[in-house]
Symmetry: C2
Subunit: 640 residues, 2 copies
Amino acid sequence: MSKEGSVVFQPEGKRVPIKLGENLLEIAKLAGVDLTSICGGRGICGKCKVVIEDRRNISPLTEKEKKKLSSAEIAEGYRLACCTVINGPVTVKIPEESRTGRQRLQVEGIETLVKLNPPLRKYFLKLSKPSLSDPRPDAEILLDELRRQKGLQSVDIDFHALQVMPAILRRKGWNVTVVLWNDRIISVEAGDTTRRMFGYAVDIGTTKLAGYLLDLSSGRVVAVDSLMNPQIPYGEDVIARITYASRGSREQRRLQRAVIGAINQILGSLLEKTGVKREEVYEMVAVGNTAMHHLALGICPRYLALSPYTPANRKGVNVTARSLGVKINPSGNVYFLPIIGGFVGADTTGVLLATEIYKRDEICLAIDIGTNTEVILGNKEEILACSCASGPAFEGAHIRHGMRAATGAIERISIKEDLEVEYRTIDGGKPRGICGSAMVDFLAEALKAGLIDVTGVFNKEISSERLRGGERGLEFVVAWREETSTGEDIVVTQNDIKEILLAKAAIHTGISILMRKKGVAEEDVDVFFVAGAFGSYINPENARIIGMYPELPLEKIRAVGNAAGTGARMALCSREVRETAESVVGKIKYVELAAEAGFQAEFLNSYFLPYADLSKYPETSELLKKLGKYPKKPPVRFPT
Amino acid sequence: MSKEGSVVFQPEGKRVPIKLGENLLEIAKLAGVDLTSICGGRGICGKCKVVIEDRRNISPLTEKEKKKLSSAEIAEGYRLACCTVINGPVTVKIPEESRTGRQRLQVEGIETLVKLNPPLRKYFLKLSKPSLSDPRPDAEILLDELRRQKGLQSVDIDFHALQVMPAILRRKGWNVTVVLWNDRIISVEAGDTTRRMFGYAVDIGTTKLAGYLLDLSSGRVVAVDSLMNPQIPYGEDVIARITYASRGSREQRRLQRAVIGAINQILGSLLEKTGVKREEVYEMVAVGNTAMHHLALGICPRYLALSPYTPANRKGVNVTARSLGVKINPSGNVYFLPIIGGFVGADTTGVLLATEIYKRDEICLAIDIGTNTEVILGNKEEILACSCASGPAFEGAHIRHGMRAATGAIERISIKEDLEVEYRTIDGGKPRGICGSAMVDFLAEALKAGLIDVTGVFNKEISSERLRGGERGLEFVVAWREETSTGEDIVVTQNDIKEILLAKAAIHTGISILMRKKGVAEEDVDVFFVAGAFGSYINPENARIIGMYPELPLEKIRAVGNAAGTGARMALCSREVRETAESVVGKIKYVELAAEAGFQAEFLNSYFLPYADLSKYPETSELLKKLGKYPKKPPVRFPT
């Protein structure tokens, strides 16, 4: 058997277990890492450039690579992934230029090692035929042998497996494989199929879904895919969807069907990519916020949106694929991770599992940025959690030229002293809009340049052709029409700034109230996990300058990508992880922000750039002072 | 509270628990006893005549009755059920003329008392609303209260109940009733519904289905109905149906849909009669032979018909109504009683439960006559069981003028010395055919009259206009065309006799092989239970004369009606009965007749009237000698 190792992909920090001697491009593909390749791994296109600084554990540079890489690149450790074989643990950096950009729906997440111990088991059995002298019923022959050979005592046979069992037992002369989910036989298969056992993990986001197909005999991800949430037309955020679903059972069913349809569509594409059969996928594990959880499971979601915002249940839900309409093996199980509270859902449980905050000594802060942003604070002693309605502004909604992180989106902005703008688009083409990470950059850069003040208002005294009167107040031109693919100027309006301020204020308020409740100051926080697709693409320095993040040293900030999805995959692979999840969620202190004293005041304080009390952001204050942009009349903090 | 008593209806021996002071016609209706009433209980039609010999516990004779009953009838204890109130335990005989006859699909059965302890429970709870300071999820509020008030620890909520729970909890201000099936909450209902809890018991026969609606808060039957099995067009007997279902999954599903449709149709009519709502019926318990069991559950039945004839499973099956398509409360449970062997099914388990053979000291013989006839022999020490393919001849199939027991069927025949015939039809009208009980009479009477010999062959030497040459050999005219409603002579052919002989030989063989295996002689048998609709209408003396029954004293023979249905009802009412069923079936020694040495020879021996060895039927021998019909050359017994 070949030896095993692992590759860590940066900047996501995704750790992938591998077999030594494997090709790096293949590893990246299987792991779902975003890495361009046009020629299909033949060393011709030169697109799959990666950086590997430590050259010890990789194959030597090939002639093909020498043709495609400059000597400067070779000196910096650039390689073509398709020409590189991995012989030991390495860290691989994927430079921005090697990313496809197209699939900016992030599905990667940190990898947290778990012992492979799924509730699924396969056993191959050679049974003895019944005869007139031994006319035991089929089920008894099977269960007796399972007891004798494997010591399994109280095993049940799923009703649907029983229906077809008689024919299957006889198909290959009473040689069968039984598939157990915990103590239940969910499938009986003719012959020896023990090598084929797959699972499906799904992260149901308000905006996007990410799906992972795992080989449960190794625990490895074999394919990844994602899709926009088809519920979006029924409402951008969870409140809008709950409102829609509350109109009637038809509407509620429509939303359920939409999301189950997307889950099945992703699965279909994963199966097609890998040749795995539907029947070989025996379990699905899902995470999602409480509204996504209720809607996907067909649970009445109305009361999630009404005070006191309580969910129907907290415990994990197990239900057969058949009854939910999920198209894995119909007798397979679907497990939804437990939820924490009304607006802190199973996705946050996933983040908890991935970051393992519940067993750490260090004080950890974690946020999972999305249409709702969840905040977790604590360590093994105690964990608080809350949810902030940050809204879809980071996804481009309600922003004049806002768009999602897709080809043509401006994803980075810097503003020079003369107010000239530099920007970078996803895929490098002409811009057609601005995505969330660039809006964060814009606010930070505009503040530093004195283009806006600490309340986000444009400085009218500035005279620049870029700052001009628009239909509804001032607006700033980021890209002139000659530069864009739309033939229109791309601008940031006063209202756009307000939208982003509201979003960042919501997140800051959540963090700040949890810190206050726990009596923790910035310097007490040891790690700050930033989860979610958006969190991976954001510039943490700028997020800190605008007060979206607390002012922590940058080295404490760790983008962990889709940690919720990672948690789902961990649970798919391990019973112990599920037990941990079920016991941990009961111990999390759910904080309902709206019920907290001083919530409104803190929200108003958080609306300032970076915050009403500038002493909480000494580095940013220092920077602004140095740039001569420190406010002459600092804001007054509302008492909380 | 009113005092309780019971009424025993004869000839079925059906015991019905009642409240003292109830009207007898109402009691009979609710219990599903076959009793005519045209005027609807107003004392006008005079059809609901019953005989009550002991007058102590009934209301005195009314003026209305004096008008409708003759003084001879009054002297014999005749009453009108609609005018009679029951004040204590009584035995009520329902004379033949008071039966409707139309519903000759027997649904009555003996009543065996069980302690009411169904797995269903209802609890009314007043819950405290969640609040911002107590934002427990709905499920936790419910489960916490259930734990606190009722001490129930590990209760689960059915997924479908959970889906609608949030709205239901709030419908009547957090006053709810929870319905538990064992440790699972299968329904949550607004307000206090604890008084409404029903169950449905079904006996799925090869030819007919009988359904009983029970009030599970009292254990009483509230309505009964029956229907022909709509699978009949796909095959008259189980082998034909298994063959049809084995053609493909579409055919198998067709048979499943047919029987589930009939189960739902009976239920629909029971609900309509009683005003009970579908959602208030929380469990169904079913019995049926192994083929009916597999077909109804959608289990591949093919191997039931192939040696060694093993079923898919033995244990009882629990499955949700939803997944089976049974239209009780969709989250309700459907329980199929365990089966004993390939051809000894859950119906026989029902007979075992009803007769309680498994706990008796006496040696009991029991047969459940149907298209397959099951035979049970034993007591609390040991029980043997087998199945005989008696075929549908008793139901009228393959008999020239055979018909089912319905209006116009000749149900009794006697043949005088001069070969003149007396007969009686169901409902007393003109005959249109002959049903099984009359065929048994015919064979016995023809044997006694010397019309046939001990091999069933017509005596050609007899000269009577009734015995004549037909299309295929001799035939005997039972009713002349002037007497019939069809305008045709009704005859019994030589072939008809052969069919009945085959059927009775099959039953006799089963009984005789079990007795031999157990080392039991006729005199050792203490009770002989005859179950099944047909068994209740048969003349036991004639059944004994033709050797369908062993020669036991008549007082040992007890017709117990639809004992399988009784067993289903008992299981519906009691967890203990289910536990008994599950443990008892594992101890029954299933005898596969075809695998028994001497089976063929014994079958040939049993083909004689009454049997090849006349010394086993001393009373019948004596009778034949007295009538001068004892065979001059007695048959020779094949060695077994």
